[in-house]
């Protein structure tokens, strides 16, 4: 940063020995400030621009799609057969697959993540936390394709021992694996939120005779409510967008998913599948990618809006 240049910047004041900044020095500082501000603005603008560009492409190609397919059919049809001779476009099939795996993932990750966060934040000693946290973060670093094959070749056969009518491709196992995958995200955010609850609040609870567990449930979690909710919704957004695990282990069959023991395609799995084939550009099947992508985008957007609203409503100021 700018240092005071003794030769040019400060001039000797009348009082003697006083340092007074020169006009040139102040001007240089103003220029540096302006350059920094422009640079920071560009960095911020770039992320907004990229988001806007993605939305533009999704919406543009989706409009082309909806010029050929009625939006009512898109939302109400129960079949998804875009490459058949008589194509049907019921997005509800893919959405049901996505919601099913997301739901199973959350059923695994929310309780486990909450318990783990409470343990790490309120019970674990310093050393235990220093061991467990990096291991959890390592879990977040495992490539998702590895999780996919873990689900397909290890967990599914294992589960089939106990659930004989479990299909080779199914929604249950990928859902559970997604739950394991989003666990580190949930724990990381939820534990931070719990640890941010100030100690005087805990001391107040202990002074009333609360046990550690009562303090965690009655004081820490309500205090960290907005952060814990944000953790769940972050996990949910990741579960909705998860691709590799479902593409590998949930199957490619676009059917209405109501039985988790059967396979079904999710929105992401469909996009992968259709993108890998050689579709003519601007064919109707090609345009489904964008309509499906837009649906996925809107789902995540809704979750994020709910998260935003909850955070605002329940934010605690200590």
């Amino acid at each position: 940063m700018a240092t005071i240049d003794l030769a040019s910047a400060p001039t000797q004041g009348a009082a003697g020995g006083q340092l007074v900044a020169s006009a040139a020095f102040l001007r240089r500082r103003a220029i540096t400030g302006a350059v920094v501000r422009v640079f920071l603005f560009l960095a911020a603008a770039l992320s907004v621009f990229i988001t806007a560009a993605i939305v533009y492409i999704l919406v543009y190609d989706s409009i082309l799609f909806f010029q050929k397919v009625s939006i009512v059919d898109f939302l109400t049809d129960t079949e998804w057969t875009p490459v058949f001779e008589k194509p049907r476009f019921g997005i509800i099939t893919l959405v049901s697959g996505t919601l099913m795996t997301t739901l199973i993932g959350l059923v695994v990750a929310m309780p486990a993540g909450t318990i783990l966060s409470i343990y790490l934040s309120e019970f674990a000693g310093h050393r235990t936390r220093e061991i467990i946290k990096p291991i959890l973060e390592l879990l977040a670093g495992v490539p998702t394709v590895a999780f996919g094959y873990f689900a397909l070749f290890f967990l599914t056969p294992l589960f089939q021992i106990f659930i004989p009518n479990l299909s080779g491709f199914n929604l249950l196992v990928p859902g559970i694996v997604i739950g394991i995958m989003i666990l580190p995200y949930i724990v990381s955010v939820a534990e931070d939120a719990m640890r941010a609850v100030p100690d005087p609040l805990r001391e107040g609870a202990f002074a009333l005779g609360f046990t550690r567990f009562q303090t965690a449930i009655r004081v820490v979690i309500p205090g960290a409510f907005s952060g814990v909710t944000a953790a769940y919704l972050l996990g949910m957004s990741r579960a909705v967008g998860e691709t590799m695990v479902v593409a590998i282990a949930a199957g490619q069959q676009a059917t209405l998913a109501y039985n988790p023991l059967e396979g079904a395609a999710t929105i992401t799995a469909y996009i992968v599948q259709i993108s890998l084939g050689d579709l003519p550009h601007n064919s109707l099947a090609y345009l489904t990618i964008f309509a499906a992508g837009l649906t996925l985008f809107l789902m995540t957007l809704v979750f994020n809006l709910i998260a935003f609203w909850l955070r605002k409503k329940y934010r605690e100021v200590y």
Partner: protein
């Protein structure tokens, strides 16, 4: 207890019943010793003030009374704090800190209401003691809030968040929260240091009102406050109890040179 310890405990020239006595209490934060052989009595239904320069150990001593130090690893008590009439040593490792905290309430330096409604804050201490009967809880909550001189200000907004109250109101809410389960002793750790003068005056008034009728308190705070509201004063310096006496004696004719230097503002 043998005759010697009793003699130490009642060293002050008074014939009032005792609520507790501190006998040869030492305390370590890990390796660092913070209290050295502290001895003094706590009289029933009187306000006892702990004064001294910051870092002298007065908060440490106060927090020993409800075993707050147990929350952090590596802390160690030696000596005794005998609670009457049960005559249990509340700093003994054999005594469950939960039991001590169920008997002794505490109010902290900064208001620390829970992120819940006003009602739930005051009812929290009752809930943890297994008191769930609605009519009883309602009565106790109203009684405690009245004692804490807050009832009139909050009775129409019991279900709204405690964080909507002003700092002074929050601190009175914390006092009500501590009073609701009717503790045997109330500890106040510089309860007005985060408050403005008007809120401070209200809390001081409250402490004086509560003392004769309700229970015993220890206040650690500035000298003027101790002089205004306490019956007994203990002066501490560098983790040692320098002098303990009736408050007027401490402020008018202290026996120790150090006490005199401190109260006349020569250090601290």
């Amino acid at each position: 207890m043998d005759a010697l310890t009793i003699e130490k405990a009642v060293a002050a020239p008074v014939d009032e019943p005792l609520r507790a006595s501190v006998i040869d209490l030492s305390f370590h934060y890990g390796e660092k010793q913070a209290l050295f052989d502290v001895n003094f009595p706590i009289h029933d239904r009187k306000v006892t003030a702990l004064i001294g320069p910051s870092g002298c150990g007065k908060s440490t001593l106060l927090r020993a009374f409800n075993r707050m130090h147990d929350l952090y690893p590596g802390n160690r008590y030696q000596g005794e704090v005998i609670l009457y009439p049960e005559q249990i040593n509340i700093v003994s490792p054999a005594v469950d800190p939960m039991l001590v905290r169920l008997k002794i309430g505490m109010v902290f330096q900064k208001p620390n209401p829970f992120p819940k409604s006003i009602y739930e804050n005051v009812a929290a201490g009752l809930w943890v003691r297994g008191i769930r009967k609605k009519s009883l809880v309602d009565d106790r909550v109203e009684f405690a809030l009245t004692q804490a001189a807050l009832w009139d200000e909050v009775k129409d907004r019991m279900r709204s968040s405690a964080y909507g109250l002003s700092g002074g109101q929050q601190q009175r809410l914390c006092i009500a929260r501590a009073l609701a389960p009717a503790p045997e002793m109330l500890l106040l750790d510089e309860p007005t240091s985060a408050l403005d003068p008007i809120a401070t005056a209200r809390i001081e008034e409250l402490i004086m009102e509560l003392a004769p009728t309700v229970k015993i308190m220890i206040v650690t705070h500035n000298m003027q406050q101790a002089a205004r509201i306490s019956n007994y004063t203990a002066f501490m310096h560098l983790g040692r109890m320098v002098e303990f006496d009736v408050t007027t004696n401490i402020f008018t004719s202290p026996k120790e040179r150090k006490t005199q230097d401190y109260i006349t503002g020569r250090f601290g």
